[in-house]
């Protein structure tokens, strides 16, 4: 299996993307921002199309747009994103605004798609944007290395703000009173999530982003009580699901890698739920 070059590339990119998704996903789940992460993955394709329309590099346009939309969601949700999820009476994320914004961005994507498909020059723009969003088995060596570097950067970035972000997520009022810049942290974290979303959607697809962001982190929240053990566990479970899923889809013909990886990730979450229910009985 490892003698195949596409498999090595998939493992390299997949490992670091799964790690980044697991680590940042732990905070995404803690802060109840799964919908925001999902919305960022939808922004990716219209952003690449818009960049192609404007004549700038699709990859740069993609990253710029997801980071801008992430930060914008953090700025727009005044009260909502400052508060953490989980505690009784805390404000949930402003899901109405998120839904309205990403739907409009998708409508712009539809517009660009139509615009391109009518002009002869435009079809190359669609092609450029389409090739940007490949499957995990279709990665070149350079793309895989880039994905690994971006994934590692996102992990380091998340860990660098982990302590104040944890404080700000669990108890925003106390953290604010102690001088932690909760608003800035919220915006910065969503911008970081934008980086993860941009890299993951183009390297492995939007489906894997959502599965890897949510399921390993939710399982880690169930299992580990200690925050830093939880973050580590989320990363490990994500990488485990990635490796298992890649091997499984290599072994079973007709099983798409994304389906296998997501099924394993959600499976660990289901198992952790059953285990934690047993232990409380």
């Amino acid at each position: 299996m490892l003698s195949q070059e596409f498999m090595r590339n998939a493992l390299l990119a997949g490992t670091f993307i799964a790690l980044a998704c697991g680590v940042s996903g732990w905070f995404v789940v803690l802060r109840g921002q799964v919908f925001a992460g999902d919305a960022l993955s939808h922004v990716a394709f219209p952003a690449a199309l818009a960049a192609a329309a404007a004549g700038i590099d699709e990859r740069i346009g993609l990253f710029a747009a997801t980071i801008a939309v992430g930060a914008g969601m953090g700025l727009l949700g005044r009260r909502s994103f400052a508060g953490g999820g989980g505690t009784a009476g805390s404000q949930p994320a402003d899901d109405t605004a998120i839904g309205a914004i990403f739907t409009f961005i998708l409508a712009l994507g539809v517009f660009f798609l139509t615009l391109f498909s009518m002009s002869s020059a435009g079809s190359s723009g669609i092609q450029a944007a389409r090739t940007l969003f490949g499957s995990i088995f279709g990665l070149g060596a350079g793309e895989a290395r880039l994905a690994a570097v971006v994934g590692l950067g996102a992990v380091v970035g998340t860990l660098a703000i982990a302590r104040p972000l944890l404080f700000a997520s669990i108890s925003p009022e106390v953290a604010g009173a102690r001088g932690v810049p909760t608003r800035l942290l919220g915006v910065g974290f969503l911008a970081l999530l934008g980086v993860v979303a941009a890299e993951a959607t183009q390297a492995v697809g939007a489906l894997l982003l959502l599965g890897l962001l949510t399921a390993p982190a939710a399982a880690a929240h169930r299992i580990a009580g200690n925050p830093f053990a939880g973050i580590a566990l989320a990363g490990l479970l994500g990488v485990g699901a990635m490796w298992g899923g890649l091997a499984l889809s290599y072994a079973v013909p007709g099983l798409p890698p994304s389906s296998a990886i997501v099924a394993l990730a959600v499976g660990t979450y289901a198992a952790s739920t059953i285990l934690s229910v047993r232990s409380t009985l």
Binding site: T103, V110, F111, T214, S259
Partner: protein, 319 residues
Amino acid sequence: MPTTTRTLMTADLANPQLSWNLARDASEVLEYHFMVNALVAGSIVAVMAGLLGWFMVLRREAFAGHTLSLMAFPGASGAALIGVPATWGYFAFCAAGGVAIGRLSGPGRRSLSEQSALIGCVQALALASGYLFLSLYGGVLGDLENLLFGTVVGISDSQVLVLAAVAVGTLAGLLALGRPLLFASVDADVASARGVPARRVSVLFLVLLGLAVAETSQVTGVLLVFALLLMPAASAQAITARPGLSLLLTVALGLAVVWVGLGVAYFSVYPAGFFITTISFGVYVAVRVVVGVRSRHGAGGMAGRAPLVESPPPQGVIA
């Protein structure tokens, strides 16, 4: 691009030119049977999506609504795999998704953060099974573009009848569920204490929402469902806090958005979903800005009144 060729074809067929005489333009639009069908279907969907969406916005279940809209993918690919019409698979998966989300993440059972994680897992799993079905089917989904972006100009008489029948059923269900649903949505704790089965109400509502989403996507496409489901309701709830007025306003906004959007799309080569979404989003942004400015200047009026939901119902207390 099937979407574009079709749009271009209709444009050639009618060769529409927007004149200064709006009444003449409107009558020109209505001369074509396919446009009448589109307007009727759009109106049915606008009313139903507005009413269901009003409760969705009130209950802050937009993520659940979005997840239900994506059930179209496993629905259509699963239907292709076993060889039944795509619409059947879509309605089946939407209803099943509503039950799954409602049962797994019902009110009072879980913390907010875990609810959003659960919905995310349901969505990821649904899309993963969609990819699996597609891979097992081995073919190409024929109507993918229509599935994503909707078919406004190709709606047949029988489709209009199906849309109307589902809308009547869904609205009857909503009517039966209405009072306990409103009670449980505004204050889940007090509602449970007064004997409202909040969990069952929540599951039933999500099933109805699934049907509404499946129906709305026939017109707007899967990706732009929120243009009719979320934006009119969010605008109306920002304008007024009175439930009855706000429901009426939602329906009125939805109808206006559909009519104007379809009318503009008729004279243009761009898909109707784009215009419907853009107009709806424009209304939403304008309302948010006006309400925000008013409340900042302390002018009272609309925003000065108490919001319909002062704080979200505390979660995890009833468990």
